[in-house]
């Protein structure tokens, strides 16, 4: 191959082992979806469903917490959320993905998306000084009794069948 032909082939991407790489799955994720998968999905499941007794289910449920200001804050004050290595912007985007896409149909009508400044403030006050299971239980009971949340929110923390 002449120098000119080699240059032309390089420019057109004809050299190298492109064929095996082309067989790789090419599923591409949105940035918040990728961050959710890398930071949350191992336990919560790719689609927000795992073992509901051990890990809270998010699918069709996560948005109910936005019925209450305390519930809205709760999601960004959870220790693994607040201590995440993601930036405030990335974390706000992940929370919105979790609440409005994975939790589709559960957020109250007209619920505002999370913004970085809000998440940045809440994550400075992680829920480490409370008994987290009791804090959640109380919040969930309020959401079920006074708002529209379904009883399925109670599933987490109950004994394995």
């Amino acid at each position: 191959m002449t120098w000119i032909a080699r240059c032309a082939a390089m420019t057109l991407g004809l050299l190298g082992s492109a064929a095996p790489a082309a067989q790789m799955p090419t599923a591409e994720f949105s940035a918040p979806q990728r961050d959710y998968i890398l930071a949350c999905a191992g336990c919560h499941g790719l689609h927000g469903v795992s073992n509901p007794h051990l890990v809270p289910s998010l699918q069709g449920l996560a948005g109910y917490f936005l019925d209450l200001p305390k519930g809205r804050a709760y999601l960004s004050r959870l220790p693994n959320v607040a201590f995440s290595t993601l930036s405030d912007e990335q974390l706000a985007a992940v929370l919105n993905y979790m609440v409005f896409e994975i939790g589709a149909g559960s957020a109250p009508p007209g619920a505002r998306p999370y913004v970085a400044a809000e998440v940045g403030q809440w994550r400075k006050r992680p829920l480490t000084e409370v008994t987290l299971s009791a804090y959640r239980r109380q919040l969930v009971e309020t959401l079920i009794r006074r708002y529209r949340a379904p009883a399925a929110l109670r599933g987490y923390g109950t004994d394995l069948p």
Binding site: C7, M10, T11, S17, A18, P20, A21, M24, P25, T26, A27, E28, F29, S30, A31, Q33, R34, I37, L38, A39, A41, G42, C43, G45, L46, S50, N51, H53, L54, V55, N80
Partner: protein, 183 residues
């Protein structure tokens, strides 16, 4: 009206420039520069700067052909016995064992295209530990974090959420691309 010294200097320089250069030579040089531009990003300097991070020890020896070896590219953070040595596959459990619904998720670089992929490290559970050969016991640790960052730690037996928490072997399921995320 006499010319100002600045005008005279400008005229002298312009005439001198016109004397030893031509529009044709300028066009030739411009053409060379333009045609070389697409090749420049392929030079090693550009490729080095495009890489996200220096290669890890695992990545230097990673291969894409034999999933029964610890060097198989998807096992960059596998810590345990490979299910592919135990009657299962790189992402499937052997008969009688079942995947844990909870796993930890990391990324590995495919050496064929240099791209980063999302990998779910799912343990297969419900049977005693697989007694495969020593070469099937792997200890990859790329992008793993210490135990106090438990969601990203591979020393944990990830057999939660099933009737039996007995560990049998480890798989590495490919979920998709980790780089080049859509906005």
């Amino acid at each position: 009206m006499s010319k100002s010294p600045i005008d005279q200097l400008g005229e002298r320089l312009t005439r001198k420039l016109a004397g030893y250069s031509s529009r044709r030579s300028f066009l030739a040089r411009l053409g060379m520069a333009l045609s070389a531009t697409p090749v420049l990003p392929l030079l090693p300097v550009a490729r080095a700067s495009a890489a996200d991070a220096p290669k890890t020890d695992f990545e230097r020896y990673a291969q894409t052909t034999d999933p029964t070896k610890c060097t198989y590219w998807k096992y960059c953070a596998s810590d345990g016995v490979l299910c592919s040595c135990c009657g299962g596959g790189s992402h499937t459990c052997p008969p009688g064992a079942e995947p844990s619904p909870i796993s930890w998720i990391g990324t590995c670089v495919n050496p064929e295209n240099g791209r980063s992929y999302v990998i779910a490290y799912r343990d297969c559970c419900g049977k005693p530990i697989c007694s495969a050969g020593k070469s099937c016991f792997c200890d990859g640790g790329d992008r793993e974090l210490p135990t106090y960052r438990s969601p990203l730690n591979n020393d944990i037996i990830w057999c939660f959420g099933k009737a039996s928490a007995t560990y049998h072997c480890s798989t590495a399921a490919l979920l998709g691309l980790a780089d080049g995320a859509r906005k």
